[in-house]
């Protein structure tokens, strides 16, 4: 920059570059008719333009195909969907839900933690444990490491929360359980389970936030802080809602009416699956290492309660 400045100032007194001015001038004597733009033909002009737009929108599309935001109404939406069929729109939304479900319900950090020899939540919280605590920890010894859990964070897809999964699974769960219930208390069971699921999700999330402590990002403005908080809140509600899927299976099995002997092991596995998937909210929630146990416990109670309802109905 410093080297260029003197040369520019010494070459000529005037600020205009003579060559550039020369090039921009249209000289009709030199030009043939082909050089000028034909407004009727126009292909040479328009082809790169459309190519450019479609390339950009395609890139944006692959980047955030998990969102179910409505294109055309949401400014984050990449494409205009006014031309596509209803089925395309619907299937994109369904695909987004399915993708999220796959990510939630495949607890990869858990399997990873098991492979690296365990150690577990219990080992992370080692200390002056004796008696009651020690025995519990030995049982929990095969659990994934608390550090791995806390560091795992959330994958990018999960940050785009939606409440479709929670709504669908909550409705299905209530429906199946009310099928299984006796004639008189069908409506009671439906409303009761529906309320229990939503209140439970809210309370469990709130509990994690209360134990977390890093919810107050200090340097942010008040409204921004509020937004972050709300978004994190709904994000974890969304995840818990998606993890209800194994319990929906359990409720369906109950509604069909499989024998009690079969129920016990199957339901235990399903509850464990839900819990393993649900633990993924811990990542990035700011829960401190030695509080992982008490942060997971409410989740455990929540799934056990729903599992019991499935079991006895």
């Amino acid at each position: 920059m410093a080297a260029m400045m003197p040369s520019a100032s010494t070459s000529s007194g005037n600020p205009y570059d003579d060559d550039a001015v020369e090039r921009d001038l249209i000289d009709p004597d030199d030009a043939t008719l082909d050089d000028l733009d034909d407004p009727l033909q126009g292909t040479s002009d328009r082809a790169p333009l459309t190519g450019n737009i479609s390339a950009r929108s395609g890139a944006a599309n692959t980047q955030s195909y998990l969102t179910s935001s409505i294109p055309g109404e949401d400014r984050r939406a990449p494409t205009n969907t006014i031309d596509e069929t209803v089925w395309e729109t619907l299937s994109r939304d369904l695909l987004a839900i399915w993708e999220k479900m796959k990510q939630v319900l495949y607890p990869k950090y858990l399997l990873g933690g098991m492979m690296q020899q365990g150690g577990g939540i219990g080992a992370a919280e080692r200390g002056d444990a004796d008696g009651l605590g020690g025995s519990i920890r030995n049982i929990a010894g095969r659990w994934p490491d608390a550090d791995a859990l806390l560091q795992s964070g959330m994958s990018e897809g999960l940050r785009d929360w939606d409440l479709w999964g929670p709504l669908i699974f909550c409705l299905l769960l209530s429906l199946f359980l009310s099928w299984g219930a006796g004639g008189k208390q069908k409506d009671l069971v439906f409303s009761g389970v529906f309320a229990m699921v939503w209140i439970g999700e809210a309370v469990v999330t709130l509990q994690i936030k209360l134990l977390g402590g890093n919810m107050c990002v200090q340097s942010q403005a008040r409204t921004a802080k509020m937004l972050t908080l709300l978004s994190a809140f709904f994000q974890s509600i969304s995840i818990i809602g998606y993890t209800l899927f194994p319990l929906v299976i359990a409720a369906l099995l109950s509604a069909i009416g499989i024998p009690i002997i079969v129920r016990v092991p199957v339901y235990l596995v399903l509850i464990a699956w839900s819990l393993a998937a649900g633990v993924s909210i811990m990542g990035g929630s700011g829960v401190v290492r030695n509080r992982v146990g008490i942060a997971v416990y409410p989740l455990f109670v929540f799934y056990i309660a729903l599992g019991c309802l499935c079991f006895i109905s």
């Binding site: 009651l132 208390q185 069971v189 401190v288 290492r289 030695n290 146990g293 008490i294 309660a305 006895i312």
Partner: protein
């Protein structure tokens, strides 16, 4: 915890001495030392300032009481225990109560569980654990007790619920005499726990008031235990008509609330 220490920015001046030391304003080393407002989340986070070992230690101290429980708390009463112990009690009471009814009604036909048992359990346990400590604290304040602390009262009642988990776990059987014995044991144990820890607080009032308060606390606790027995493990008396037993139990719970 390693990254949660002090954040200190030190300016070194031209002369080499330490300039001003800029301590970051809001360090979170112990959140209870700072002033929080009622509508912020951090205000409530103060009541949940425990970790896993601490909660386990408190549970252990509640089941095997060696020292005074208020000493175990070390001036940092939590609400985590009361909330989640109560929730666990609700779930387990519902489950074992249903198993109890199922075993008692074997052979009558297709068994149908009673969803009202769950709402009844929630109302009874949450109601007792929430309102009685508040009432006790208010009364103590009214009589000018200095040492009454709302959180400590709630914490005491919350951890006293721990014994009902054990009771509920063992009394799923339809054998009536066993259930009576278990519930009576649970009542005796938790009443002993409550009285032992409440006595120093209660005795700061006048002798007469403290005696009345003691009796009221005991009576309420006995009412709670009887309500549990009648609501959940009443396989004998109202089993022909589970709905009747249910209503009676609920009425008892309500009466208990009123009598406070």
């Amino acid at each position: 915890m390693a990254n949660r220490g002090y954040d200190v920015v030190v300016d070194v001046d031209q002369e080499g001495d330490l300039g001003h030391t800029d301590l970051q304003e809001d360090l979170e080393f112990h959140s209870s030392r700072r002033k929080h407002f009622l509508w912020t989340l951090s205000f409530y986070a103060q009541a949940f300032d425990v970790d896993t070992n601490e909660v386990l230690r408190r549970c252990q101290a509640a089941i095997f009481p060696r020292a005074n429980f208020l000493d175990v708390l070390e001036g940092n009463p939590d609400l985590y225990g009361p909330v989640w112990i109560a929730t666990t009690v609700v779930v387990i009471l519902f489950l074992t109560g249903t198993i109890n009814q199922y075993l008692a009604s074997k052979g009558v036909g297709k068994f149908e569980y009673d969803f009202k048992l769950l709402s009844g359990a929630a109302g009874l346990v949450y109601g007792y654990t929430a309102f009685v400590p508040v009432g006790l604290w208010a009364v103590l304040k009214w009589y000018g007790s200095e040492s009454a602390n709302l959180l400590e009262c709630a914490c005491l009642y919350g951890y006293a619920n721990l014994v009902w988990i054990v009771v509920a776990l063992v009394s799923w059987s339809p054998v009536s005499i066993l259930n009576y014995v278990f519930v009576a044991l649970g009542l005796a144990f938790s009443a002993f726990f409550l009285l032992r820890n409440l006595y120093p607080v209660l005795s700061t009032t006048e002798a007469k008031t403290s005696k009345i308060l003691l009796v009221v606390v005991l009576a309420l606790h006995a009412g709670f235990a009887i309500a549990i027995k009648v609501l959940f493990f009443a396989s004998t008396s109202p089993i022909g008509n589970p709905k009747g037993g249910e209503d009676k139990g609920d009425g008892k719970g309500d009466m208990m609330m009123m009598s406070r």
